[in-house]
């Protein structure tokens, strides 16, 4: 009830980087929005859909953004918030410094405003054969037995939602670079660690020796700090690096 008095009403200042499409003129718009408890960045963007009016009272188009689950499991609502790549759904307003600055990822083409085209990430998954090659989906009985310890370590790696935060944070990844990035390298480890997935391990490691592979990692270690799911990306990179070296030695001795 403390906020009924307009003099004590709290506001949130939000600055959003606007761009009609890739290559178009870029400008910033500032919005002054009513504060409520438990706001996240998504709730602010929802309010702007209803009422897209800038801080100086001018009407504008609702900023374009994308989101789906709002529970940080789908990887859709990636953007740069106050300079940090993260998911907008878990960005709680009361934990953010103001003005809150929202920008699209810089390592991918802008579709519109806060939406970028991250389809390249899914191409990386093809390059590393991020799957188990099964014979077919017909019934073939139980899968391979393995330990709970392995299941837990694979689960952690498998929580990667292809959000792209690690790539946005990585100094070696970008439109001009062939580097495949930490997310795909982590998938190599994930599938090589599965008893039947391991049968394709040589091919996955071969892909790691190609241009843009494991040696393009500059060991900045930004990825592991940026990952919203705390996936041990640097451990994955180190493990795949070791495996790739062994694979190369094996290749050498035929």
């Amino acid at each position: 009830m403390e906020n009924l008095n307009p003099q004590t009403e709290k506001f949130v200042e939000v600055q959003i980087k606007r761009q009609e499409r890739e290559g178009a003129e870029i400008h910033w718009e500032t919005f002054r929005m009513k504060w409520r408890p438990n706001l996240n960045v998504i709730a602010l963007l929802q309010d702007l859909q209803v009422s897209p009016i800038t801080a100086d009272g001018k009407g504008t188009t609702p900023p374009a953004w994308e989101a789906a689950c709002l529970e940080e499991v789908c990887g859709t609502c990636s953007m740069v918030i106050n300079g940090r790549p993260r998911q907008a759904c878990t960005a709680l307003v009361d934990q953010l410094e103001q003005p809150i600055r929202l920008e699209p990822f810089s390592k991918f083409p802008v579709i519109r405003d806060l939406i970028t085209d991250r389809s390249r990430m899914f191409e990386h998954l093809k390059q590393v054969k991020a799957w188990v090659s099964i014979d077919g989906t017909y019934e073939l009985g139980a899968g391979p037995r393995y330990s709970q310890t392995l299941a837990l370590s694979r689960y952690k790696m498998s929580e990667c939602m292809t959000c792209g935060c690690c790539l946005e944070a990585c100094p070696n990844y970008g439109p001009q670079s062939p580097f495949i990035g930490p997310q795909a390298i982590n998938q190599v480890r994930l599938f090589n660690a599965h008893p039947s997935g391991a049968m394709d391990a040589p091919e996955r490691l071969q892909s790691m020796m190609a241009p843009g592979g494991i040696t393009d990692c500059g060991d900045a270690q930004n990825c592991v700090k940026a990952c919203p799911k705390n996936i041990p990306l640097t451990e994955s990179i180190a493990a795949v690096s070791r495996e790739t070296t062994l694979h190369a030695i094996k290749n050498f001795f035929g």
């Binding site: 996240n40 789906a68 689950c69 899914f122 991020a130 330990s147 939602m161």
Partner: protein
């Protein structure tokens, strides 16, 4: 040699992806459409697990027992034969998902571990931490990517379904889609089409659903003449975290692992589910738990601190167990609420979660439009009046396993190949949708579509969810008709031709309002209480009148010809209702109770007992 057929699958959740995989294995090629990259589909939100009577705990579980729990939990509204087949297929489906690399939790022997879920006494739920849906979806996404590399699948991501296309004989021959970025509208030919487009959570505004779950695709199919079945059966999940932007699911697995629900009463914890339902306790089915929470909060005035929340308490369970089995949901709670659920009880409240109803399908997943199929939450087939927890992932995968081969068989039986169908039907369909987009783009009234969407959600949540009264349902339908009128007075602030979300949403909202009427009028007409549908004025189940499938068929207004797009005439069509008998030939319907142990099911095929006598 016969030309290969190309199928169309709309929706890249579990159901759509499994349809795609099975179709490829049946020798078909597939065009796969999705508004988001398929890996971001709503299936990722499923947390607790997937059911299958693998019986590894020495409890004497069986597919028959699973089947009996499912139809009993669904309060005898589902046709039983497909339900039974699904439960029989379940152990094989879980083994398949394990072979695909899903990191299921395991026992000390390295076998799959199973946990308990609502509405059963057995450990029947396989799980990967507490993000099982995400892990299952990824496994199928990976296999589809493999087929994509092999050239069998073409993906059309960021494409939204607008409508299906019928030839002169009424056979479905393809779809019209729009690229939500470039706004291109285009027809696609296919020998058969499957809609796996999910549930309609956004019709209720805030729900546990992803915000892409508008229900608009299924609703548009209904507007084109597909039967919509059991629309009034909407599951409200008992435990979600209230939020400003959405209501976040707090998995039933929290109770499956021993979580207890309580409110303070006279200074002591009142474990109301355990007291009201001693046989099942905290693991009663969702409709039962939701109503109990409403009773405790609204009728007894016992909400925590006078607010509409109750406690879901895990703090008595060892932290290490919680981290291994429920890590993902503990993280969600902590990130959004700032409290550690291993230390303090979580604050939760019921939220709209799942639609048991959906597009009517036969036992091959085909709708009443020949060549048009529906799968997953978008179809109505399995869950009756209430879905049991951890049966949704199963039903999605099972539907795909049925639909893929059925679509292949259908395609091979076609007299005319989809490429040889005369082109005007495709061109006309594209013209129709172009006209519609142009119309929406020019809308210049005072109404804001996003605000109207919020208002729609508030009305539906208030009057058409947990407790339903006929006068309120009637008032809601009047309101919905008002929304139909007001829709025409929307003003579009953004008239751009690129990634225009206002236009997309306005188009979806039209279909959502129509679907809301199907749900509301369906509830109004069903004067009984069954599963998730509860009317205090009609508190009992009435099998003689209502053990029937509700069928809503859209009747277009006379003044609208089929050449004029939706929303371009001022008058509105209405749903017409009819009721189909259901097949209860396997388990004889009996009273559903959870305060005592379930009576033993018949054990073997029961005597035939049809409702339609």
């Amino acid at each position: 040699m016969a030309k290969a057929h190309r199928l169309i699958v709309v929706g890249g959740g579990l159901a759509g992806l499994m349809t795609t995989i099975r179709a490829c294995e049946s020798g078909m090629e597939v065009d796969l459409f999705s508004v988001v990259p398929v890996k971001r589909s709503h299936s990722v939100c499923a947390q607790g697990g997937i059911n299958g009577a693998v019986n590894t705990k020495g409890e004497g579980d069986s597919p028959w027992e699973h089947f009996d729990d499912t139809v009993y939990g669904g309060d005898f509204l589902a046709n039983q034969p497909p339900c039974k087949k699904m439960c029989e297929a379940a152990p094989g489906i879980i083994y398949l998902m394990d072979r695909l690399g899903v990191p299921f939790n395991r026992t000390p022997e390295g076998l799959l571990d199973f946990r308990r879920f609502g509405g059963t006494k057995h450990h029947r739920t396989a799980f990967a931490g507490a993000s099982t849906g995400q892990q299952l979806l990824y496994a199928l996404d990976e296999q589809v990517r493999r087929f994509e590399v092999e050239g069998k699948v073409r993906k059309f991501e960021t494409w939204e379904y607008l409508g299906f296309i019928q030839d002169a004989e009424g056979i479905c021959r393809g779809i019209v889609g729009t690229n939500i970025v470039t706004m291109e509208v285009r027809a696609f030919r296919g020998s058969a089409v499957a809609l796996g487009t999910g549930g309609p959570g956004m019709v209720f505004g805030k729900s546990t659903n992803s915000i892409i779950n508008t229900g608009a695709a299924a609703a548009s199919a209904y507007l084109q003449g597909v039967k919509y079945a059991n629309g009034e059966f909407i599951q409200v999940h008992p435990t979600a975290i209230p939020g400003e932007d959405k209501l976040r699911l707090m998995s039933e697995s929290a109770r499956g692992e021993g979580g207890r629900v309580w409110v303070p009463r006279n200074g002591k914890p009142y474990y109301f589910l355990e007291e009201m339902y001693p046989a099942y306790g905290n693991l009663v089915p969702r409709d039962i738990a939701t109503r109990a929470i409403h009773k405790v909060v609204y009728d007894m005035g016992l909400g925590v601190n006078g607010q509409a929340v109750v406690y879901l308490d895990l703090s008595h369970i060892p932290q290490e167990t919680l981290r291994k089995k429920l890590g993902a949901i503990l993280d969600i709670y902590e990130k959004f609420m700032g409290d550690d659920p291993t230390q303090v009880p979580m604050k939760v409240f019921p939220a709209v979660h799942y639609s048991m109803g959906g597009l009517w399908v036969d036992y091959d997943q085909m709708t009443n439009v020949p060549g048009l199929f529906a799968v997953g939450e978008a179809d109505y087939s399995i869950h009756g009046a209430n879905r049991l927890g951890a049966n949704s992932l199963l039903s999605c995968i099972y539907a795909g396993m049925v639909a893929g081969p059925a679509m292949a068989k259908w395609s091979k039986g076609l007299k005319t190949h989809e490429e040889d169908v005369a082109s005007p039907v495709f061109e006309d369909a594209v013209k129709w949708h172009h006209l519609r987009v142009d119309h929406i783009k020019k809308m210049d009234g005072p109404e804001n579509p996003f605000l109207m969407g919020r208002e729609l959600g508030e009305w539906m949540t208030r009057n058409v969810t947990v407790t339903r009264y006929n006068d309120k349902l009637q008032a809601t339908d009047v309101k919905l008709q008002e929304f139909q009128d007001r829709w025409h007075k929307i003003g579009i602030k953004d008239r751009g031709g690129w990634a225009n979300q206002s236009i997309h949403y306005t188009r979806q909202l039209y279909s959502m309002i129509h679907l809301a009427r199907v749900i509301t009028i369906g509830a109004l007409k069903r004067n009984e209480s069954r599963g998730a549908h509860y009317k205090p004025d009609f508190p009992d189940r009435n099998d003689s009148e209502f053990m029937k499938t509700t069928i809503a068929l859209y009747k277009a207004p006379k003044s609208l010809t089929s050449s004029l797009p939706f929303g371009m005439g001022k008058d509105q069509g209405e749903p017409q209702f009819s009721y189909d008998p259901i097949d209860v030939s396997l388990v004889k319907p009996r009273a559903r109770k959870y305060d005592v142990d379930k009576e033993a099911g018949p054990g073997t095929s029961g005597t035939g007992s049809s409702v339609s006598k």
